[in-house]
Structures are given as structure tokens and as C-alpha cells.
Symmetry: C2
Amino acid sequence: MSDALVSALLGAVPGATTDPVALGTHRTDRSGGAGTAGAPPPALPLALVRAASVEDVQATLRLAHEARVPVVPRGAGSGVAGGAIAGAGSVVLDISGMDRVLELDPVDEVAVVEPGVITAHLDAAAREHGLMYAPDPASAAISTLGGNIATNAGGMRCVKHGVTREAVLGLDVVLADGRLLRTGRRTLKGVAGLDLTSLFVGSEGTLGVIVGAALRLKPAPVVTLTAAAAYGDVRAAAAACAAVSRERLQPSLLELLDRATLKVVDRAQGTDLAARGGALVIAQADGPGARQEIEAIAAVLGKEATWVEQGVDDASSEQLLAARRLALPSIERFGRALIEDICVPRSRLADAIQGVEAIAARTGVAIYSFAHAGDGNLHPIISYDAALPEAPPAVHEAADAIFGLALDLGGTVTGEHGIGLLKREWLARELGPDSLDVHHSLKRALDPHGILNPGKAF
Amino acid sequence: MSDALVSALLGAVPGATTDPVALGTHRTDRSGGAGTAGAPPPALPLALVRAASVEDVQATLRLAHEARVPVVPRGAGSGVAGGAIAGAGSVVLDISGMDRVLELDPVDEVAVVEPGVITAHLDAAAREHGLMYAPDPASAAISTLGGNIATNAGGMRCVKHGVTREAVLGLDVVLADGRLLRTGRRTLKGVAGLDLTSLFVGSEGTLGVIVGAALRLKPAPVVTLTAAAAYGDVRAAAAACAAVSRERLQPSLLELLDRATLKVVDRAQGTDLAARGGALVIAQADGPGARQEIEAIAAVLGKEATWVEQGVDDASSEQLLAARRLALPSIERFGRALIEDICVPRSRLADAIQGVEAIAARTGVAIYSFAHAGDGNLHPIISYDAALPEAPPAVHEAADAIFGLALDLGGTVTGEHGIGLLKREWLARELGPDSLDVHHSLKRALDPHGILNPGKAF
């Protein structure tokens, strides 16, 4: 059956190949492989299809559906949860070549794109009209919009401007059997029928393959201003973030870095952040009231701070944000990094960070925490010796403990990265049996043979 | 089977009744009845259940599921699309008595509510903490949050602050078989599993009964300012709205009233709006930059206006908005009103309004148009003699033509009210056969016996 499928694909789709080099480079993603071990899956997929058109995607799925062969869709492969890992016996469907911005309407403030468009490219195109594409995952320079939609990607700006779901008006989706489905619309509002658009957003390739999207753009802020403050410890920093909420201020970015992160940035970059305090908060405000807002935010942040500073222009503002931007690269200089992604009610952020610190102390594992504090979305980064063939048991123990902590605090095991392959076992504990049963019912309704990214997401 | 079910309900749920007076008042909604005729359905439902708890809802659905008897959930009955109309042989499930705000957390900016809470009550409770519940359907004073969620209700503020879907973090839903499902979470972000929350938002009672919700609150604007401008005609008014977009300004409200609406308000209220121009635009700005924003908006609106004015305080601002608030009540003084609800790409708004005017001229039916211009969401209000026993054929003809116009302009037949019973036939034309097939697959997956609000929504 598999051989016949491969022959059919090679005959039907110009971008199909069985070249082992291409298969090798398309079987994993930025999570590093099939598990925290960082190793790629043992065997190559059956074939790779580089789709150039909606028709290519339809032909691939139609054939795979008939042959009951798994299909693993992928964009740039920048995911960190293993959602694009492809094992033996599967077909990899790469849509990154479908990368045109088909339309950008500056009055409707809507863009129509193919799924392979790089996120930052759409944002840049929008800015030519005074608009922006609001979701800003850290991977924006390399990730595709299709991948962002498939994982419902977040970012630093979404505390004010919303996650990917809020930006998606409608989708073109190829279903498991090859049919092309249109969801949603190009209008800014619309409630005709079920919200199929949101069902596909964040479904990690398990319900259909996104081949087009109508996206909402937003006015780009005329001005963005930054403030930063340091505190004795994480609890004081989180309290300052909560105080910003209580004053009903709306930062467009509110990030928190713990002591371990400040130290590793200092070590890698030669800065002296840790001398300012045991935790750092960085805030931005944007829009027509930005100056007034950032001053109010800085006043609140400054109250219990050991150090506080306000950006006076773009350069000094960017400088204040540099510590955050350099956090992950700094950690990655000294070991292999596992990027975790829990989210808790924001009032529990200090409990989460201190819980992670306790886990690090107990397991002896190095863990660096930084957070989208305004959303309660925490990234504990577990680091271990890159020379090791696989992650030591203590790393798994620490990761497990972090997921358990998130659930104990009323949170989730993933705020913006997705479940992929790596967090599946934790999903069952988060959702419970009735919800999982509903998930599987919906999956069967849309993909009766279970060919779409099986074993991922749920 | 029906008799046995009624006995079982009367035995199992304290709020169950077969009192004909209660059945009579719970079989229709604000749409006026089973069709544009305004007549209530001919026969009474089997029973009414006034649920006082989640367990009451579970018991009702468990019994109805076993008996294969339709259940029509309802909140306040304020819907205008017939979603809560209950025919013979069905059980009406009234959740309006479950009306407690269970929690309101001012740091997390989250409220946990029962579904029968009146929308305006939650907003008022939030304002005590400097917060607001952002979605503001015109029915906020009488509609329930459960009903708002079931229809994904909009409102005037949502051009800036988002529709109901954006405010819903998680839901408690009783499934067709009586199981209680938790969707989403209390955290501000989270991507574990499918977005079941959005699937239930706007599903009009066809997939489950919403018995609880975690809702996101937003900081209440410290100041809201208003400007209004009149124009020679609707096209000039729509062009002014488009110019506001092109300047990348973000009004928190942007409404447009056509000539017919201005005249009927004048007639009912003794004002002289129509003397100012042939179309009126009202805009608001809110937040810390509101003063600067409203001045910029007023400058853009003023360019081609025949009249322009800016509110200087709350009283004068509210006065400028009065024309909009009085539009529907004024229309309803002179006839029975059918409230339509189309949405088009906002660049097509002038085409939509002029198209509606042409339909009014052609059919001889009185149609008044006002719009949430910033969203392209237009409410053509069809009016006919209230003394007539049913709507004349020309009214049906006009309504049909309006729906066709919306689709021809790349829009939808409902922007914020829902499909309910009244627009079902148009949905098929909007969605097409593949999408409808997916709708029915999902419906079967969640409600295999089809007991939940059958014949509604899709």
C-alpha cells in the first residue's frame, strides 16, 4: 500500500520526492527530535511533498486518505513541541513554498495569504500601510503564518493585541479526504454557522491542512515606549506586575525575568543585570496615549523597585528590552535548552516561578524562567549538557514537575507552543476523560481514517 | 415516549412544569415568532424546565437524550433570529434562573458566571473594580451572558474591544447526553487541545447547553469622547468612515445612520437630524489617548461634512449618541420591525446601504439602515404595518434581496445576531455544501440523536 502511494504521489505531484537527504532534513523540528532526548526519529518518512499549490495539497491528501497513510504537515519546522516530527511510514507535506501575500487591503485592514508566508514578512508588508500583523511569536523571522495558525501562536505583544486566533478571520483548509473547505469570511464580524475557523486554529495539523488565510491587520502603534525595573526577588517583581493590573493600566508588553536568567545573560553578554536586582520587569505601552501610559506604568513599577529606568527614544527602549531578547540565546550558549511553556492565572505567577525554582533546587537541574507576565505565561527553560547523548533522568523529572505545578496552580501545560508530540501524556491529565472523548469524536468526524498528524496534539 | 419523558422530568427536576401559561410565554423570542409573520408557533411545547442548577440541566438532557425528545435552551428570550422558538413536541430548558456571578477577580481580570446573569449586571459589577465586560449588545440590559455566548453577540464597542468570543476564556457545557464538559481555562492564554470553547460560542444551543463561563474583563476606559458629523449622502458618510481607517485611527465606536433613519428619529422624537444632512456618522474614542484620538477622528470626519460636532463632556457626548440609541425605538413606533443584520467588508458599506435603498425603492417596503460602520455590520430594519396579521409578500422579497446583496458583496447574512430559525435557508447559500456537511458531521459527533435545538442555526 505504501509503495503504491509513493508511486502515485511521485506521478501526481511535481514536488514529491523520496530523496533521503530531503527526507532527513524534513523529519523533525526545532524541538530537536522525538522526545526530550534530542534525537531525530530512527527511520525516514516514506516521502516528502513540497506543495506548490492548493491542488498539490488536495492531491496528496486524496491519495493518502485512500491509502490510509499518515500525513505530517509542516511549515518552517520552527515548532518547539514536536508537532512536525515525522516517523517511518508517513508522508511529510511541506507547505512552506506556498508563500505569497495574495492581497493586502488597507481600508478593510485585511490580508489574504498563502500558509508559507513568513510571519515577519506579512508584518513588514502591513507596515507599509501603517498597519501591523499583531501576533509576534519569538520565531516571527523564521516561522510561517500557517504554522502560527496551526499552533495558535502567541508572543510578547499579545497581552494587548491578542494571540493568533484573534487575527484569523477565515481559512482555506484541505480536509483529510482532499476536499477544500472555506471557513469564516473576509468580514470583520460574522456568526453564520459554527466557528470552524477557531476549530482549525491551534489544531496542530490534526483536522486539516491550512492552505490559505484571511487575516485581520491592526493600525501599527504610532509610538511604543519602554520602562524597566528590577526587584529584590521574583515575588516583588510579580507583585509589581499585579499592581500594574490593579491600576487598570494596559501595557502592550509586560515581561519578567528571574535571577537565573539575569545571571546567564550577564555571563553570555557581559552585562551586569543581576547587580540591579534579583528579578527584572520590562513593560511597554503603545498607541496615542503611550507617553501617559508608560509614565503611569513606570510610577507603579518604581514603587518597590531596586532600580527603574524609562526609555527616552527607540534606541534606549530597545536597549531596555535587550535583556529579554537575549535570554534564550544566552541560555543556549551554555547547554541544550528545552523550552517549556506553562500558563497560570496571572495572580499565581510568583507561585509558579518560585515553584520552578524549588524544582530546580530539588532536581539539581538548571532552569531559567522568563514570563509574559501580563498573561501569566511562563517559559521555564531547562538546560543540560549539550555533550550528553540524551537528557538525563533528572531533566524529565523536572519537566514533569513543572507540568504538574502548572495544573496544581489552575493553569495549563502550554500557553502558546502547543502539545505536539512532547506533551501528549500531560494533556490527558489537563483535559480529563470527557474532554478527550469529545476531542476524539470531533477528530473522527473530520478525519475518519486518522491520517492527519496522528499521535500529535491530543 | 413523550408522556413518559414529561412524567420523568416532573419527577426529577423541581423546576419542571406543564402549566400552559408558562409554556405559552416560553415558546418564542424577540423575533416575534416562527417566521417573519410574527405569529407564535401553533402548538405548545411538551414541558418547560426552569433549571436552578447544573444538575437540573444534566438531568433534563439525560432524560431527553434517552427519550430522543428535542430540547430548546433559552436565556432571556431576547434573541431576534428565532433561536429560542420552541415547537410542539419539544422541551424548553430555561437557564435564566441560574444568575449568580460566582467570582470576580480584579487582578486576574476574570469573572466566573452562571449563564443567566444579565449582561449589564456583570458589566456593572466589573466597573466597581475599574473593569468592564467589553461586549455590549444593544440588548445588554435584558439579555443573558449565556445567550450572548450562544449567539456570539456583538455590539457597538466591539469595533475596538472585540465580540463575545474574544471575552470567553472557558465554558462549562452540558452535552446532549448529560455529561458536563469543561472547555478552555481561567488563564488568559492556553493552547492545550482543540479550541472547544470557540466551537460552543455562537453554536446557538445546537451542540450543548452553556451552564457556566469564565470571562475576560478589560480595564474600563478612563474617558470616552464623542464626535458626530453629517454628510450629503450615505456614500460620503461611508467614505469618511473609510478615511478614519486609512488614517489608522481606532475609534471605540463608529456608527452610521442613513437618511430614512434620521427622518424616522426626527418624526418620533421631534429632533431635526435630517436638516443636518442625508447621513450621520457618530464616533467615539476611549482610553488614555482619547482626547488626541477624538480630535484626529473629528478632523477626518469634518473634511467633507455638512455638519460636525464634538462632545465636550459626558452629557453632550451622550446627546450626540442619542440619535443612534433612539433609532430602533423610533422605527418601532410606526410599525412592526424586522431587524436584519448583514455584514460586508467595510470598504463595501456604501454599496450595501445604497443596495438596501434600491431594494426599498423596488419593493415599496420601508427600510431603515444603520450600521456599525467600523465593522461593516449593517442593520437594515424592515418595517410594516403592525395591524397586518402577517408580513406582506413584499417584506419577504425585500429580506431575501438584502441577504442576496450581502453575499454578492462578499459578506454574510448575519454579523452578530445568529441564524436561528429565520435565516436557515440562506445559510446553505453562504456556506456551500462541503461546509454544511462538516457542520453536520460535527453535530452528529456531539449530539448523535439530534435533540439539541434541532432545525436551528444550520
